[in-house]
């Protein structure tokens, strides 16, 4: 346990040379990283107990550290825990804050009339607040779908062991480890009702990524509309004046650099790229672009 605490604190980081997603010395199930943990914990425990490193005595990496686990159940479990924590502690609160800020601006500017645009051409009027309320709602909508996708992530595979039958795990292990992880993380993790599905596929993760992609599309739409609205300062639309943020363009004196919007646009593109490279470029302002061929494969 002392050895595990040291590893969690990062004191043993130099002993984990395997990089999970980009290393060729790794199976798709993460066996090498799993054994890396078992070996490091066993050797550190041996060291703490005054034994000889590599002797497997008195703490054996398989029999005493790994015990009733398999990378086939621990990795999906770890991915689910990491995904829930990232969503709950980073993505959801930050996106909520953005939605709230946009809502506040929508209310503030509800009566300011502007030109509507479809296909970048002048169209009938609407208010700035109406437009911004749409962005806020898009975000809220995406966040609802993201929260709904968490239900699948709360179901964990641990306890299924190598082929999902639970062979070699002690009786009750799958339920007890789910309860313990729920207690340690504060999130309602439960043991998956069917380990054969939970270990055999990443369905819940795929669903969560689809929801993340939905949010990315909303962010991209908002970022692009904001950039168009703020284009200029002299020869563009010039509807929005971006605050000066110190990121003045070095080549063009005095031009506020729309780095916020650009970064905003790039990041969702990155997320979308990781999700099967689907073509979901939203249109500008009030009209969808590409609507007829949204589903065409590239």
């Amino acid at each position: 346990m002392c050895a595990a605490d040291e590893a969690i604190k990062g004191l043993l980081d130099e002993h984990f040379p395997l990089y999970i997603w980009q290393n060729i010395w790794q199976t798709g199930s993460g066996t090498q990283s799993n054994m890396n943990v078992n070996e490091v914990l066993s050797n550190r425990a041996i060291q703490l107990l005054g034994g000889k490193i590599g002797s497997k005595e008195p703490v054996h990496p398989n029999d005493d550290v790994n015990m009733g686990q398999s990378s086939n159940d621990t990795f999906p479990t770890a991915v689910h825990i990491a995904a829930v924590m990232e969503l709950e502690e980073h993505l959801l609160p930050h996106a909520e804050a953005l939605a709230a800020a946009i809502e506040a601006k929508a209310n503030e500017w509800m009566d300011i009339v502007k030109t509507g645009r479809t296909h970048l051409m002048d169209a009938v009027p609407l208010t700035v607040g109406q437009e911004w309320s749409g962005w806020a709602y898009q975000l809220r909508d995406s966040l609802d779908r993201l929260s709904a996708s968490e239900a699948g992530l709360f179901e964990r595979a641990a306890g299924g062991t190598a082929v999902d039958t639970g062979l070699n795990a002690p009786p009750g292990f799958r339920r007890e480890i789910a309860e313990k992880i729920a207690e340690l993380t504060g999130y309602p993790f439960v043991t998956a009702p069917n380990k054969f599905a939970a270990q055999g596929s990443f369905g819940a993760v795929v669903a969560a990524m689809a929801a993340v992609r939905g949010l990315a599309v909303a962010l991209m739409k908002i970022a692009n509309d904001m950039r168009w609205s703020a284009s200029g300062p002299r020869c563009g639309l010039g509807e929005l004046l971006l605050p000066e943020n110190g990121l003045l363009d070095h080549a063009e004196q005095g031009q506020p650099d729309p780095a916020g919007g650009d970064g905003h646009g790039l990041h969702p593109g990155d997320r979308r790229g990781q999700c099967h490279r689907l073509r979901l470029q939203p249109g500008e302002f009030r009209a969808q672009r590409d609507a007829p061929d949204h589903h065409s494969a590239r």
Binding site: H60, N62, D164, T165, G166, L167, N168, P171, R174
Partner: protein, 53 residues
């Protein structure tokens, strides 16, 4: 408990010498026939349907 290392040596021996797992396990002297037959029974090893072992 026979443990990972001995179980692994038995599996390797069986593979290398074209023996059954039972032959290799008994030859290792780590387990007797009665105990081997109790443990290595595929019907027991698959657990209880969806409930696991």
């Amino acid at each position: 408990m026979i443990g990972y290392d001995k179980a692994s040596a038995i599996a390797h021996k069986a593979n290398d010498e074209d023996l059954t797992l039972k032959e290799a396990a008994l030859a290792s002297g780590n387990i007797d026939e009665k105990r081997f037959d109790e443990i290595v029974d595929p019907k027991k090893m698959v657990g209880h349907g969806l409930a696991g072992s």
